[in-house]
Amino acid sequence: MNRKILSLFLIGVMAFAVVASGCISGGGSTTTSSSAPSTSSSASSTTTKTGGKVVWASTQLVPPAERAFILNTVLPGFKKQTGIDVQFVPISYFDLSTRLAAEEKSGKVTIDLIGDLHGAMDYYQSQGWLMDLSNMPQLKGRTFISTFEKYAMIRGTKAYIPWMSATYVMVINKEAFKYLPSGLTEQDVMQGTSKWTYDALLAWAKNIYEKTGKKELGFPVKGLFHRFLHGYLYPSYTGYEVKKFDSPEAIQMWKYLKNLWQYVNPSSTTWDEMADPLLRGDVLIAWDHTARIKDAITKEPDKFVVVPVPRGPKGRGFILVVAGLAIPKGAPNKDAAWKLIDYLTTPKVQAETLAQTGFFPVVKEASEQLPSGPLKVLAKGVAAQESTSDALVVMIPNLGKYGGQFGELYKEAFRRIVLQGQDPATVTKDIGAQLDKLFQEAGVPLP
C-alpha cells in the first residue's frame, strides 16, 4: 500500500516536473531569442569598428522568402563585387524608430543603412536623423523615375534614394476588349489617355452586362478596397484623399460609385484578392494591389493585360507605395552604405527584385532587363500608369496605430451609401467628422 502511494506520488511529481520544465524552458527560449538582436548588434558594432561591415536595418523584405532572396542572392553578389560584408537586420517600424531615436540621442550610431517606406522616412527626416544625400557621388547608368525622385526630396533635403515601389492597378481580361463602349479604344485603355475615364469604365461594364448578362467588373471589397476609395476615387474626383471628404465633389463621386455598382459582380463583397476571380472567370475587369493579381498574370500571361486606372474630373489618382534607402546621421560606415545603395538600384538588381519579391523597379532601365512574359506584362502596366501625364500620385498616410481605423471608415461609408442606400450627404458629414478627429489624434495633417 505504502509503495503504491509512493509510486503514485512519484508519477505526480514527474508529471509536474515535465510541465514545469516545459514552461521554464519555453520562457527561457523567449529570453534567448529576444536577447539575440542585442547580442548581434553589439557584435556588429565591434565589427564596424574593425572592418568595413555595413549594418542594414530594413522594415521591408522581412518575410522569409524575401529575406532569403536578400541573403542568398543580393548580398553575396554585392560582396563579390565590392568585398564588403553586410549584416541584414529585419526589423519592425516601431523597433527601428525606437532604436534610431536612442542611437541618435546617444551619438553611438550602429546602423549604416535604413530601408523603409516613404511615410517612415518622412518621420525620420522630421526628427533630423537622416543624412542629406544630395552631395553623395552620382549613381551612374540609371534614370530614376521622376515621381520617385520628387518624393525623395523632403523639406529641401534628399532624405532617401528610391529603392522599390508597389501600386494598385487594373487588370483586364483581353476578352473584355470585345465589349468596349463607343468612343473608347484598346489603346486608350492601355496607355491611359484622357478618354480612359471612370465614366468610360461605367459605360464599359454596362455594355458587358447588356451584351452578356453578366456583371464582370470586380473589386476586393473584403481585402484592400478602402485603398481604392481613399487613394483612387477620392483624389480623382476631389483632388484629395481626405481634405474634401464631405464636399459636393465627393457626393458626386459616391453617386457615381452607386451607379457603377449596378454592374459590379455582387460576389465582390466576399473577395479579398482578385487573382482567383480573374482566373475563375468571375470577372473580366478587376482592380487590386499588384502583388494580389500577380498570380493571375503569372499563370495566364497571354490572357490578361495590366493597364493604368481610369481618371476622374481632377486627374488620375493612384497610390504609390515607395520604399527608400537612407543613411542615418553619424553612420559609422556611410561610404560602404552608399556602395550598397548603388548596387541595390542597378537595373539588374532592380529587375531581380521584381522577379523575386513582386516589388517594382524605380529606375527606367530595369524593365529592359526583364524577360518577356508575365513580369513584363505587369511592369509595362505599372510603368504606363506611373508615366500618365495626368497622374495624381498619393501616398498612404502614415497614421501608425490609427491606420486600421482609417481604412475602416472608408469601408463604412461605402457600406452605408452604396450597399445600404443611405444619403451620401449625411454619411460623408458623419464620417468626415470622425476622420478629422482621427487625424487630429494622430497629429498628421489632412492629405
Binding site: I5, F9, V19, K214, T269, T270, G407, R415
Partner: protein, 290 residues
C-alpha cells in the same frame, strides 16, 4: 502502526497532486490569457472602465454578429443532431457496404474548415462547378448567384449547408459510439414484452444515448459559438459572426480591447450553455429510475 498514519496523511494529498499538473497547465494556458483578456477589456488608464465595452457594442457589426452567430447555432445544431441520429441508427445496423459508408461519412471530418470553405466556394461561385453543371444540363439559364452583400439569406444558407456537410459527422461519431455501447439485453427484453421499433427508440435507445448526446451537443455548441473559418472564407463580413469580429478587430483595426471583448463574450456564452446542458440532459440509468 505509525506507517499507517503516515499513509493516510499522504493519501489525502494524492488526488490533489495528481490534479496539479493539469491545473497548472490550465492556469498558464487558459487562466493567464483570460485574466489578460479581462484586463484588456475593463482596465484602462489605471482603473476600471467600460469604454471598450461601449465602443464594442456601439460598433455597427456587434448586434448583427450576435444575431447571426446565435441564428447559425440555432439552425445548425438541431438539424445536425437529427441528421446524426438518423445516420448513426442506419450505420449501426449490419449491411453490405457499411464500412465504405462509414469511411465516406468520415471524410469531411478530416478537412479543416478553411479547406472546406475554399472547396465549396469554388463549387458554388457563379462560374463554379455547380452552376456550370446546371447550365449544361439546361436546368438554369443564368448562373445562380449565392454570394454577395445583397444576398444575405442565401449566404446564410450556404454557411448552414457547408457546416452541416462538414461537422455533422462530429456528432455522428459520438452518437454511434454511444449506440454501440447499449447492451442488446435491454432491447431483447423489450422485444420479449412486445415493444416495437418506435417504443424501443423512445423508451430505451434515446434515454441511454443522453450522455453521448450531451457530450456531442456541448462540444458542437462551443464550436458553433466560435464559428469563424468557414464564414470568413465563404462570405467575409457579409454575415458577421463573433469570432470573425474578434479576428477583424485585432488584425485589421488593431483594436485589441474590442477584440478581447468579443473573445470574452464567446467564452461566457460557451460557459453558460455548458451549465444549461449539464442541467437538462442528466444521464438516466434504467435500473435506478424505477
Amino acid at each position: 502502526m505509525q506507517g499507517g498514519y503516515a499513509n493516510r496523511g499522504l493519501s489525502r494529498y494524492v488526488p490533489y497532486l495528481l490534479l496539479a499538473p493539469a491545473l497548472i497547465y490550465l492556469m498558464i494556458f487558459i487562466g493567464y490569457p483570460m485574466i489578460e483578456g479581462i484586463k484588456l477589456v475593463f482596465y484602462q488608464n489605471g482603473g476600471f472602465s467600460l469604454e471598450t465595452v461601449h465602443r464594442a457594442i456601439n460598433n455597427y457589426y456587434f448586434w448583427p454578429a450576435v444575431k447571426d452567430t446565435l441564428g447559425l447555432a440555432a439552425i445548425i445544431l438541431p438539424t445536425q443532431l437529427l441528421l446524426a441520429l438518423i445516420l448513426a441508427l442506419t450505420v449501426n445496423k449490419v449491411f453490405k457496404g457499411r464500412n465504405v459508408a462509414l469511411t465516406l461519412l468520415l471524410i469531411p471530418m478530416t478537412l479543416s474548415d478553411i479547406a472546406a470553405g475554399l472547396i465549396w466556394y469554388s463549387m458554388l461561385s457563379p462560374s463554379g462547378f455547380m452552376n456550370k453543371l446546371l447550365l449544361n444540363l439546361g436546368l438554369i439559364h443564368a448562373p445562380i448567384q449565392l454570394f454577395g452583400y445583397q444576398f444575405h439569406t442565401r449566404e446564410f444558407m450556404v454557411i448552414v449547408f457547408v457546416e452541416l456537410w462538414r461537422s455533422t459527422v462530429t456528432i455522428f461519431v459520438i452518437v454511434l459510439a454511444g449506440l454501440q455501447m447499449i447492451s442488446q439485453e435491454y432491447l431483447e427484453a423489450a422485444e420479449v414484452f412486445g415493444a416495437g421499433y418506435w417504443t424501443k427508440l423512445r423508451r430505451i435507445i434515446i434515454p441511454l444515448l443522453k450522455p453521448s448526446i450531451q457530450t456531442a451537443l456541448l462540444l458542437r455548441t462551443i464550436y458553433a459559438f466560435s464559428i469563424f473559418g468557414i464564414v470568413w472564407v465563404l462570405v467575409g463580413r457579409d454575415v458577421p459572426v463573433l469570432a470573425g469580429e474578434a479576428y477583424y478587430q485585432v488584425t485589421q483595426i488593431k483594436d485589441y480591447g474590442v477584440g478581447a471583448f468579443y473573445a470574452l463574450l464567446i467564452a461566457v456564452m460557451s460557459l453558460a450553455i455548458g451549465v444549461i446542458y449539464l442541467r437538462i440532459t442528466r444521464a438516466e440509468y434504467l435500473e435506478v429510475k424505477r
